[in-house]
C-alpha cells in the first residue's frame, strides 16, 4: 500500500492552531462559542481546539461529543452499525456551534450532524471546522475552517491519525 504523508505531527499541530485562531477571529472571541466533535477523530480534534482556545482566551468553551449513526442516510444498507453515545452536556440554544470533524468528503456526515444538533435545540449558528477537505462533495456543504484542502481521487483514502487512539499523529493519503 502506497502512502504519502501530507501533514506530519508538527504540521498537524500548526494547522489546529491556525484553525483555532480563525474560529476566534471570525466569532470575535469565544463568547457564545461551543465545540462539538464528531466521533471518532473529530472528538480529539475538538479537544485540541478547546485547549488552544483556553490558552488564548483563558476560558474553555463548552464541549460535546456527537455520534451521527442514528441520523445516517445509509443505515438500511449497512448491518446495524454500532451506535455510540452522544454527549452534549450544554444547551445548544442560541449558541454558535462549531462542528469538528477530521475529513470532509461527501458531506453526508455533516448533513447528519446538522440534523442531530437541530433535534437538540436551535443554535444561533452552526459552523464547520475540518482538518482535511478532500473534495468530491455530494451535498451542498462547505467548511468554514479547513486545515488543508487536498483534492484526491476516489481511489485514494485520506487517513487522519491522532496520538490519542492511533499512537501517532499524521495525515496520510493511501491508495485503496
Amino acid at each position: 500500500m502506497k502512502k504519502k504523508v501530507i501533514l506530519d505531527k508538527k504540521a498537524v499541530d500548526r494547522t489546529i492552531t491556525r484553525i483555532t485562531h480563525e474560529i476566534l477571529e471570525k466569532n470575535g472571541g469565544s463568547g457564545s462559542l461551543s465545540l462539538i466533535g464528531i466521533r471518532t477523530r473529530g472528538v480529539y480534534l475538538a479537544n485540541r481546539i478547546q485547549d488552544k482556545i483556553k490558552s488564548v482566551e483563558g476560558m474553555k468553551p463548552p464541549f460535546g461529543v456527537l455520534d451521527i449513526t442514528m441520523y445516517r442516510d445509509d443505515i438500511s444498507k449497512l448491518r446495524s452499525p454500532e451506535v455510540k453515545k452522544t454527549e452534549i452536556p450544554f444547551d445548544v440554544n442560541n449558541m454558535t456551534v462549531v462542528l469538528v470533524d477530521d475529513v470532509l468528503h461527501t458531506g453526508r456526515t455533516i448533513r447528519a450532524a446538522i440534523d442531530a444538533i437541530m433535534d437538540l435545540g436551535r443554535p444561533k449558528k452552526i459552523q464547520l471546522a475540518v482538518l482535511v477537505d478532500r473534495g468530491e462533495r455530494e451535498l451542498p456543504i462547505h467548511p468554514d475552517y479547513a486545515g488543508i484542502i487536498c483534492p484526491v481521487s476516489e481511489h485514494h483514502e485520506v487517513l487522519v491519525r491522532m496520538s490519542e487512539i492511533d499512537g501517532k499523529e499524521e495525515v496520510v493519503i493511501v491508495k485503496t
Binding site: T69, I75, L78, R79, S80, P81, E82, K84, D119
Partner: protein, 307 residues
C-alpha cells in the same frame, strides 16, 4: 461486534457478548427519551406490528413508544380485536400480516414457542414479547440493564428471585441471563410454585424468604399468575403474603445497597408491601424507563440495518 440475528426469541440463545452489545446500544438510545424532541429518524419507513394475544400495558406500550421514538410506524393488534376471535389460526394471521410487509412483529402469546413458529415461517423479524411460561427476553434485558446501571456490574451478585417461579417467564429469562454472567441465584417461593429440577439451571432453592433475601444484592419479586391458575397453588392470598410478601424488615437484612425489582403489574399487599414498592431500594420505575431504551436497541439491531 457485528449483529447477525433476525429474531429475538430467547435470552438463553444470546451470548454474553450479544447481551452486552444490546445494553451498550440501549445506553446510547436512553438519552433520546430525555430530550425535548424525543425522536430520531433511524427507523424511518419501517413498520412494527405488535401482536398481543395476552393482556399487556407495559410491554406493548413500551415497544410502541420505542418504535415511535425511532420513527418507525406501529400497528397494534390485540386478540380481542383480531380475527382470532373469528377462528383464524395464528399461522394464518401471521401470514396475512406479513403480506402487508411489516419489518418486525412483536408477539405475545400464551403458548410457549409461538414466536419461534412464526420466526420459522416469516421473513419479518420476530420479537418474543412473552410466550406462556417460557421466556420474556426483553424483560430480562431491561432487568440486566437496570442492574448494571445501579450496581455498575452484572456479575458476582447475589440475586433472590421470589414468587411463582413455576409459571413465570420473567423468572426463567432472568435465570438464563444472570446465570450466563455468573451470578448466584436463589429461587424462593412456596414448594408448589418451585418447579422440580429447577436446580439443574444452576440455581439454589430456598423456601424461607428471610433466608433467601439475607445479604442479597438484588431482590426480584414476581406476581402470582392468576391467568395461569397461580392461585390454585397456594391456600390463600393472605397466607402467601404472610410468608412470601416482601416487607421493609426483609429489605433491611439484605445488602446495604440492595435493589428491589418487580416486572409489574404489582399486587401491592400480596407479594410486595407499599413501603418497599415506594421505598428507596425500589427500582421498579427505573425498570419501566429502561425498558423503552432496551426495546429501542433491540428494534434497531434487528431491523435497522440490512437483513
Amino acid at each position: 461486534m457485528n449483529w447477525k440475528r433476525k429474531d429475538l426469541l430467547d435470552i438463553r440463545d444470546l451470548s454474553k457478548e450479544e447481551i452486552l452489545f444490546i445494553l451498550d446500544t440501549a445506553e446510547s438510545f436512553k438519552d433520546i427519551s430525555k430530550r425535548e424532541i424525543k425522536k430520531v429518524p433511524t427507523l424511518r419507513g419501517k413498520t412494527v406490528i405488535t401482536l398481543f394475544y395476552e393482556p399487556s400495558t407495559r410491554t406493548r406500550t413500551s415497544f410502541e413508544i420505542a418504535a415511535k421514538r425511532l420513527s418507525a410506524d406501529t400497528i397494534n393488534i390485540s386478540s380481542s380485536t383480531s380475527s382470532s376471535t373469528k377462528g383464524e389460526t395464528l399461522k394464518d394471521t401471521a401470514r396475512n400480516l406479513e403480506s402487508m410487509r411489516p419489518d418486525a412483529i412483536v408477539i405475545r402469546h400464551s403458548m410457549p414457542g409461538a414466536p419461534h413458529m412464526l420466526a420459522a415461517i416469516l421473513d419479518s423479524s420476530i420479537i418474543n414479547g412473552g410466550d406462556g411460561s417460557h421466556e420474556h427476553p426483553t424483560q430480562a434485558l431491561l432487568d440486566l440493564y437496570t442492574i448494571r446501571e445501579k450496581k455498575g456490574r452484572v456479575d458476582g451478585l447475589k440475586v433472590a428471585i421470589v414468587g411463582d417461579i413455576a409459571h413465570s417467564r420473567v423468572a426463567r429469562s432472568n435465570i438464563f441471563s444472570l446465570k450466563n454472567f455468573g451470578n448466584e441465584i436463589i429461587c424462593c417461593g412456596p414448594p408448589t410454585m418451585i418447579p422440580p429440577y429447577i436446580e439443574t439451571l444452576g440455581v439454589r432453592v430456598e423456601y424461607d424468604l428471610e433466608k433467601a433475601v439475607r445479604k442479597a444484592d438484588v431482590i426480584m419479586m414476581l406476581r402470582i399468575q392468576k391467568e395461569r391458575g397461580g392461585t390454585k397453588y397456594i391456600p390463600s392470598t393472605k397466607e402467601y403474603s404472610t410468608l412470601y410478601g416482601l416487607t421493609k424488615k426483609h429489605v433491611d437484612t439484605a445488602a446495604d445497597d440492595v435493589i428491589v425489582m418487580h416486572p409489574g403489574p404489582m399486587n401491592r399487599g400480596t407479594e410486595i408491601m407499599d413501603d418497599v414498592a415506594d421505598g428507596p431500594a425500589s427500582v421498579i420505575l427505573d425498570q419501566v424507563e429502561n425498558g423503552v431504551a432496551v426495546r429501542m436497541a433491540v428494534l434497531y439491531l434487528l431491523i435497522g440495518g440490512e437483513a
